[in-house]
Every structure is written in structure tokens, then in C-alpha cells.
């Protein structure tokens, strides 16, 4: 009997060991599946991230920081060349309108800022990182808020489409020609700092002398039309403004030196309006508010 009991407990022991092995194996298999799935998911996520870096890498925080710091340097050069137009009411107006329009672009991480420059030159400038300027000369040629919105939206588009950023390959990462940009900002060597200064000077040359690529200007006109029409302004406002200043050829010489000809731009805007069925679309022009806020400017003519 003792022997049999001994045999019985031996069988139970074997069963327990078998159950234990099966359970161990099951857990091991589940763990393996889990690990392989995790790796697969992680890899696909990493791949997606890398694949998107081609056109999306600038939304990385370091790249945006580099863009803003670069833009500050360029804004400092624009403001070294031109003074502010001192009109608190007009300045606040341009900032409210500009910041409202910027929310219809795809760069929510950028803090857009606006200023009016005290010069009769008819122009507007955008520095990376959201620093936007419009001249007193340009404002005097505008008839309503929709036209001002169109000019500001054109500049917002240069920022949202990262035209200068792409042209000069500004990044916060080590792969940038301005290598270690973010590190530089924490205290770089004199040599690295000199590279930064040269790069910003190059951007200033683009704004003041050479101009951006023709295609960048056409793209900004397209984005501007999208921004103003989505915001509720007259989609033809940019065309109206371009037509008006094209006749003031002498005053607008600087603009034609750095931008495609007015004829080319008007033709491009015409095709944007036609492609989007906006040629005949009537939306707000907001004349009264514009005239009221820019009265000071006109009084000083």
C-alpha cells in the first residue's frame, strides 16, 4: 500500500511538473509574442517618425527654437535698418489682425509678432520664428482690412512654409550645417558664433537684396489667399493690392527687385482664384475699421 501511495504521489508529482512546464512555456510564449509585437510597433513608429522627418522635422522643439533664435537675429537686422512707426493704436491693430490670421496657418507652435516700419518703401518682411513687418508705405497703398490681411498672410506664409529655414537649412540638430545650433545658443565658441552671424547676414541679404525663390513667392500668394478666404476676407484682396501698387512703379522698386514681377504675381493669383472657384466669391473687406485704425498714418501724409 505504501508502495502504491508512493507511486500515486510520484504520478501526481509528474503531473504537477508537467503542468508547471506547460504554464512556464505558455507564459514564455506570450512574453515572446508581446516582445516581438512591441519591437514591431516601436520599429514602425520609429520608421514613421524618420520617414516624416523629411518635411516635418522642423516641428521638433529644438528646430523650432533654432528657427526662433535665428529669426530674432534677422528681425534685429530689419530693425537696425528701419525704425518703428510710432503709432500705438495702429501697432496694436496690426498685431491683433496678424495674430488672428496666423491661427489659420499650420504653425501653432510659433508666437507670431507684428510691427509697422517707418519707411515709405512699399514692402513687407518676414523673419523665421514669426517676426513680421509691414511698411508705412505699403499701408498707405491699402484700401481696406482685407488688403492688409492679404499682405500679412503672405508674410505669415513665408514663415509657415519655412522658406528661409529651408533655403539656409536651419535646424537645432547636429545634422545642420550650422551644426549644434541649439548647443551654440547655450554658449558656443567665437567661431561657431561667427557662423551664426554669417548665416543671419545671408538671410538679411535674401530679404533686402536678392529675394526669395520665385516659386516661394508664388506659394506664399497661394497660402495667403487660402488664409484670408478661410478667415472670411475677400479672396481677391491680394490681387486688388498688387494691381494698385504695380501702377506706383517708382515707389515699389524695392519690391520688384526682390519679388517676381507684378504681372507674374497677378497672373498666379488669378489662377489660384479660378482653381478654387473664388473669383466671384464676395467676402468681407472691412473698410471702416481699417480707415479708423490707420487714420493717424493718413493724417501724416
Amino acid at each position: 500500500m505504501k508502495k502504491n501511495r508512493g507511486q500515486g504521489s510520484g504520478v501526481r508529482g509528474q503531473k504537477d511538473r508537467l503542468t508547471s512546464h506547460v504554464l512556464r512555456l505558455t507564459v514564455f510564449m506570450l512574453f515572446s509574442i508581446y516582445c516581438s509585437l512591441f519591437t514591431a510597433f516601436a520599429a514602425s513608429d520609429d520608421f514613421r517618425q524618420r520617414a516624416s522627418q523629411g518635411d516635418e522635422s522642423f516641428s521638433e522643439e529644438d528646430d523650432v527654437k533654432a528657427e526662433v533664435i535665428f529669426g530674432r537675429g534677422l528681425a534685429a537686422r530689419i530693425l537696425g535698418k528701419h525704425s518703428f512707426y510710432e503709432d500705438e493704436k495702429l501697432n496694436k491693430y496690426v498685431n491683433k489682425l496678424g495674430k488672428g490670421l496666423a491661427q489659420f496657418a499650420n504653425r501653432p507652435e510659433i508666437e507670431f509678432r507684428f510691427a509697422v516700419l517707418d519707411t515709405d518703401i512699399v514692402n513687407a518682411y518676414a523673419a523665421p520664428g514669426g517676426y513680421i513687418f509691414v511698411t508705412k508705405g505699403a499701408l498707405r497703398n491699402m484700401e481696406d482690412e482685407a488688403e492688409l490681411a492679404a499682405v500679412l498672410a503672405h508674410e505669415i506664409a513665408h514663415v509657415s512654409e519655412r522658406h528661409i529655414v529651408k533655403e539656409l537649412n536651419i535646424k537645432g540638430t547636429e545634422v545642420s550645417p550650422v551644426s549644434g545650433f541649439a548647443r551654440v545658443l547655450g554658449g558656443g565658441t567665437g567661431a561657431v558664433k561667427a557662423v551664426f552671424t554669417q548665416m543671419v547676414d545671408k538671410a538679411a541679404e535674401i530679404l533686402f537684396e536678392k529675394g526669395l525663390k520665385k516659386q516661394d513667392e508664388f506659394d506664399s500668394d497661394r497660402v495667403a489667399t487660402m488664409i484670408i478666404s478661410t478667415a472670411g476676407y475677400d479672396p481677391s484682396a491680394l490681387k486688388r493690392y498688387l494691381k494698385k501698387i504695380s501702377s506706383a512703379a517708382k515707389e515699389t522698386k524695392t519690391l520688384t527687385d526682390t519679388h517676381p514681377s507684378f504681372d507674374e504675381r497677378i497672373k498666379n493669383v488669378d489662377s489660384i482664384l479660378a482653381d478654387n472657384q473664388l473669383t466671384e466669391k464676395k467676402q468681407a473687406r472691412v473698410k471702416e475699421r481699417f480707415e479708423e485704425r490707420s487714420r493717424g498714418l493718413r493724417g501724416k501724409e
Binding site: 507564459v27 537675429g73 530693425l79 489682425l97 491661427q103 496657418a105 554658449g187 538679411a204 488664409i227 478654387n276
Partner: protein, 166 residues
């Protein structure tokens, strides 16, 4: 005892697996609205009738891409959204280099110079704000003046909408 441990391990694995599968589903959106609002249109053209309006941060499922337009499904609607209003990641918070780090290159150099005058001057850091570029006059004080103008996104949007009558 062993059984209890295995059952516990099994439960943990199952739970992890379930959580992982769920996070995969939650991450299914292809595009996120970056602008304050994005009209979903019946055709890839700005003048087309509006089917719906997605708000900033809302996910959209991409079905097709055509030039500057994405065909997307949003709630129970299928329509077109401009690529200029969307992005592949949820909208990011505003990036500030002014408050977060104080890492201003050209002005930062001047500030460091005041703390370590001799060493900094030897490394060429003691430049005046107006002499950082040989080619252009540089005025960071005016940039700071420009940055001091505060208008919130909400205030600006309300102002714009009041103007266009929306």
C-alpha cells in the same frame, strides 16, 4: 505557489498586450488639425461647399492625397481638407526661447561677458549689440520692444471675427 505566480505573470502579460493593442487603436489618426479650424469641403477646392468644420487638435483619417489636398473622414463625413491646415502630429504648444532658457546667442554673449569680462573678451564675446554683424546694423533692443506687445490668441481671433462679421 508556482501556479499563483504563473497566473499572475499570465495576467500581467495579457494586460500589457491589451493596453498595447488599445494604444495602437488610439494612435490611428493620420492627420491633426493645426489651424484654429479647418473646413472639410466637398471637393478639393476652397470655394466648394463646406460639409463640416474640424477644430484645432481634432484627428482626421486620411483616405487619399491629391496635390495640396487630403481626402479625409471626419466624424460621419468624408471630404477634403487643405494640407495647409493639418499636420502629422497633434498641434504643439508655443515654443519660447525667451523665458525657457535665456539662450539668446547674440545678446546672451554680451550678458555672459559682463560676468566673466576678461575671459569673455579674450574669446571675442564682448561685442556690443550693434556690432555683431559687419554688414548690417543689429538692434536687439527693438526686437525686445516688439516682443513686449502682448495679444492673446483668443483676443486676436475675436477681433478678427468681429471684423468679418462671424
Amino acid at each position: 505557489m508556482n501556479k499563483k505566480i504563473f497566473v499572475l505573470q499570465f495576467a500581467i502579460c495579457t494586460l500589457h498586450f491589451a493596453l498595447f493593442a488599445f494604444s495602437g487603436v488610439a494612435d490611428a489618426a493620420d492627420l491633426y488639425v493645426q489651424s484654429v479650424k479647418a473646413p472639410i469641403l466637398s471637393a478639393p477646392s476652397l470655394g466648394s461647399p463646406k460639409l463640416a468644420e474640424a477644430k484645432k487638435g481634432e484627428p482626421l483619417k486620411e483616405m487619399e492625397k491629391q496635390g495640396n489636398w487630403h481626402k479625409v473622414s471626419y466624424k460621419d463625413k468624408t471630404g477634403w481638407v487643405s494640407r495647409l491646415l493639418v499636420g502629422q502630429r497633434p498641434p504643439a504648444a508655443k515654443v519660447s526661447v525667451l523665458e525657457s532658457s535665456g539662450e539668446k546667442l547674440e545678446t546672451g554673449a554680451r550678458k555672459r561677458a559682463s560676468a566673466f569680462t576678461t575671459a569673455a573678451a579674450a574669446r571675442g564675446f564682448a561685442e556690443e549689440r550693434s556690432r555683431v554683424s559687419d554688414k548690417y546694423k543689429v538692434d536687439f533692443a527693438k526686437v525686445e520692444h516688439m516682443e513686449a506687445v502682448k495679444v492673446s490668441d483668443e483676443e486676436a481671433l475675436a477681433f478678427l471675427q468681429e471684423g468679418v462679421g462671424k
